[in-house]
Each structure stands twice: as C-alpha cells, then as structure tokens.
Symmetry: C2
Subunit: 306 residues, 2 copies
C-alpha cells in the first residue's frame, strides 16, 4: 500500500517509438516544464522504461508524495512497459480505463492509456488516439475526418466525440525505406523538394493508383536516362506515395470535412493533395494536441474519482 500524500500536480507523457516527450503540469493546469529525449519505445526493453522516465523527470517527482504520471503511445505496446488493452471502435479516443505500470521507485503512480482497435478491417491506433482526443477537446462536436500524417498515417472518422472507424497507411515508412534503403536511394536526395515534381507524381498516382509499383521504379530510370535531379526525384516519390494513399482512402475525405493534424511541412503536402482532389480540408496548427488529449483524460479520471 502506498500511503504517501498525493501531489496535486501530475506528469503527462507522450511515449512514441522514437521519442519520449513529457510535460510537468501544476495544480492549476499550468505547464511547469516540458522535456524530451530519444528514449523511444523502439530502443527499450520493458525493464528500461522506468529508468528512462526517471532519467528525464526524476527531479520533477517530489519525495514523500505520489505523483500521477499518465502515458499515451507505444509504452503500452506488447514490447512496451506493460501492454495496455485496445478499446474497440466506435468509442471515445483515449476514453477507456488506463493500465497501471509497475515501478520500483515509490514516487510515481504510472498509468498507460488504452489504444484503439478495429476488427474489420483489422487495424490499430497506438498513440494518435490521444491527439484525436486533444483535437476533440479543442473542437468538441467536430464531425468529419482527421488525417494524421506520419510514419503510419492515420485516417479517423469522427462523430459524437467518438472514433467511428479508421485506417492506417504505411506511406511515411515506405517513403523512408524507399528513399534510403532501396535502389531509388541512388536517385533521391536526402533534402530539398520540388513542388512541380511533387504535383506531377501526386496527380499520376491519384489517377492511376494501381500502377504504383511500376511508377516507383520509374524514378530510377528517369534519373539515369533524363538526368532528373535528386530533389525532383525525392518530391516525385513523395507525390506518388501520397497520391496513391489518397486514392485508397477516398471514402474518408469525399463529401466530408477533413482536418490534417501533424508536422507543418508534411501536413501541407497532404492538404495540398486533398485540395487538388476537391476535398474540403484545413490544417490544425495546434502545437501539442497529445498534451490536450492527456489533459482531457486526466480531468475525466479526476472527475470519476470524486
């Protein structure tokens, strides 16, 4: 039994595959500190999570007090700190009961938010549900589609503050693998971009998505035979992949408002593509939706306790 008194502040944690980001929240909800490290889930064994948390936030945990730590993201994966159950859609994002994670240190009381699952088509959301919850906290009652571009881009249909259905596309991971590990790496730069080449690739793949595997390879001969620049090849690769993705999720963006959430440059590419296809789209410029989602969940738990 932990008998220490409870700290009125708490710690919000977004624990991804590659990074760990956290915020110390004061009793009035103010952000007292914001920190991040590269101790993502991908590089940790289950025993490594508590040391990684303490290394980044140990000094934010007062002695003799119990401080609540609420985590979203990959810390709840099977290879994570402790596996958090999936909440099947339709359901509110980040809405179910959190899973306690064991600690040796007596100061933190750690809990991990549930992820989302879908039976058919089989799919999972592991982390982004908190950004969705954060978006719904800032725009309650939004009805439409949220697009969260990234390594695994998520498309979520939202209604009545619930996620109704969702799909995941591997676009970001395919871009990274193809541009750095495949034969295309000889043709594709690591930086730079060409709007024209992006748009040409996008239009081609959006109109003929079934030819993607052929169009991807064509980047190599275009640079061999026509001296296409590495920056144009990079932009064309991005355009082809995003164009094919948008063609595959037409039922998510057709005839419904779309909000793109995420890093500015990538969000702009998705938004530009969606506009070309006639979608009604805007981007969200909120800097920390995951924090808003963690706040909303923490507030609900506090309410449930009273």
């Amino acid at each position: 039994m932990r008998t220490a008194r409870t700290n009125e502040g708490w710690i919000a944690v977004d624990w991804g595959t590659s990074n760990l980001r956290l915020w110390a929240i004061g009793p009035q909800g103010q952000v007292l500190a914001e920190r991040s490290s590269s101790d993502g889930m991908g590089g940790l064994t289950p025993e490594g999570f508590e040391p990684a948390l303490l290394a980044l936030a140990g000094d934010l945990l007062p002695d003799g007090q119990l401080t609540e730590v609420l985590i979203c993201g990959m810390a709840g994966a099977r290879q994570g700190w402790v596996e958090a159950p999936y909440a099947p859609v339709p359901c509110p994002p980040a809405g179910g009961a959190p899973t306690p994670a064991p600690t040796r240190d007596p100061r933190p009381s750690v809990r991990i938010l549930p992820r989302l699952s879908q039976a058919d088509p089989a799919d999972v959301v592991r982390g982004e549900e908190t950004q969705i919850a954060g978006f719904l906290a800032t725009e309650p009652g939004f009805e439409g589609t949220l697009c969260l571009p990234g390594t695994h881009t998520k498309w979520a249909r939202v209604r009545d503050n619930q996620v109704v259905r969702f799909r995941t596309a591997m676009t970001g991971e395919l871009f990274a693998l193809l541009s750095t590990q495949s034969v295309l790496r000889h043709s594709v730069s690591t930086e730079g971009f060409s709007e024209t080449a992006f748009t040409e690739g996008f239009d081609q793949a959006a109109a003929h998505p079934r030819e993607l595997a052929l169009d991807l390879f064509s980047i190599r001969p275009a640079s061999l035979l026509a001296d296409t620049s590495p920056e144009a090849s990079r932009a064309r690769l991005s355009g082809l992949l995003i164009g094919a993705e948008l063609a595959s999720v037409r039922d998510y963006w057709q005839d419904t408002p779309v909000v793109v959430i995420g890093a500015a440059a990538l969000s702009q590419r998705y938004a530009a593509g969606l506009k070309r296809l006639g979608a009604q789209v805007r981007t969200s410029d909120h800097p920390a939706l995951a924090l808003e989602g963690l706040r909303a969940a923490q507030a609900r738990f506090a309410k449930e306790r009273t």
Copy 2:
C-alpha cells in the same frame, strides 16, 4: 597493340549486383568450367572489377593468348567497370555493339553487352536482356510476354525476336524491405509459407490494387489482434505485392502467352497468380538462360567478324 594469338575458347560472364557467375567455354562450345563468387557490382569500385575477374578466372586465361570475355549485367552500370550504352527498344535483346573494358592484364579481351532502355515510360533493363536473348535462342520466334521475377521484376513484350516494350516492378525489393526493415518485421517470419494466406492476399490485392498501402499495414494488426502466424503473414505479404503487381501490368498478360523465367519457387507463385487471373502461362525450367544469351551474342559477333 595486342599481337598475341587468339584463344579459340572464351569466357561468358553474368555480373549482377550481388553475384558474379562465369563459364569457360571451349572451342566446340562445351562448358569447361562454371564458377561463381559474391563479388557483385554492388561491392566493387570500377577499379575492383579486373581483380575480381582475375581472382575467379585468372587460371582459365592462358599466357601468351588473348581470351575473349563477354559480360552481361551490372558490370555495365554507371557505377560498374565501364558504362555500357543503353539500346532503345524496340530492338533485339543483347543485340547492339559491346563496350570494351580496359584491363592491365594482357590476357583477357573484355567486352560488356549493352542494356535496354525505354523512353516512355522511362525504364531500363540491366542484365535480364541476356536471359531474354537466351530464351529467344531456345525458342526463336516466340511472340508474347516474358516475366522475370526478382528484386526488380521485368515484364517484356517480345515479337520478331525483339523486345517491343517492357516495365519494371519493385515487388521483390519491397518484399525484402517490408519483411525485414519495416514495422511488419515483427509479424512476418523469415521462412515458411502458407498457400492459403498467399492466395487470400493475392486475390484481395488483384481485385483492389489501389488499397495496397492500407492492406500492407493490416498485416501488423492481424497478428496483434487475431494472432495470425508469422508464416501466414509472410505469405500474405507476398500475395498482396504480387497481386497488386499483376493488376498493374494487365496489358502484359491479358490475351497473350506468358512465360515466367527465374528461380523455381518465386516463378511458381507468379505462375499461380497469373493462372488465377485467367492468363495463359507456363514456366521455363532452363537452368542458365543468361549463358544461352551470351552464347548467342558471342556467335553473332564471331559471324560479324568473318
């Protein structure tokens, strides 16, 4: 000026990205020796090709004689021994003038066969043209499509002993990257196979190729939520990629005979898929079509000299 007398035998070389394979051919066309090493183009600088050839075949080059060495494949790439020009289709495969490669050793007279190029859609063949030439040497007058599965699968339309047009799909490279480097590696075995899972994946992607990027990711949640076996996930990944590829090259296999050329297991998968889609398909079980193609080219050059 090289004044040495000429050896009536010669050496045929298939120099790929990963491997080097060669045959010593006697005056009557008999194979005197067959050797291979892992000195593929991918691991060599331009200066490394002659030493790699001599390490494998130096003892097959008699002193005081000039021995012809005819090479096909990636030794003629821009990063290879010397860049061989591309022959634009339509043209006979391995049919143009070979490019001499410089040597310090006086014994070998090295030449590299041209590759194939296509302007629109931009595409290149770099090595497989010799297998195509070998197939046409064994079946002169064949009219239809040749499918050469591999890291980069080639589809070549052949008529009047010429390659009329061709396309390349990155299917083999995508399978390797996704199964070993992407998030799917957690779900996919390195060995084993399930015919049922292959067929299910194939049918799904062949019918709905535009949903490939979504279907690929679904392998991960299927193993997380439904405990799909790693062997079934591996077969499903293969089926999805080959199904989508076949949908993208419909004009290569519809209403025309198809011959699949290459390693037995992979050729069988392509042939099975093509049959499911109603194509008229068979596999070639010739063990060394590249050698037959090199023989045909060498015979033509000998004829041109007389």
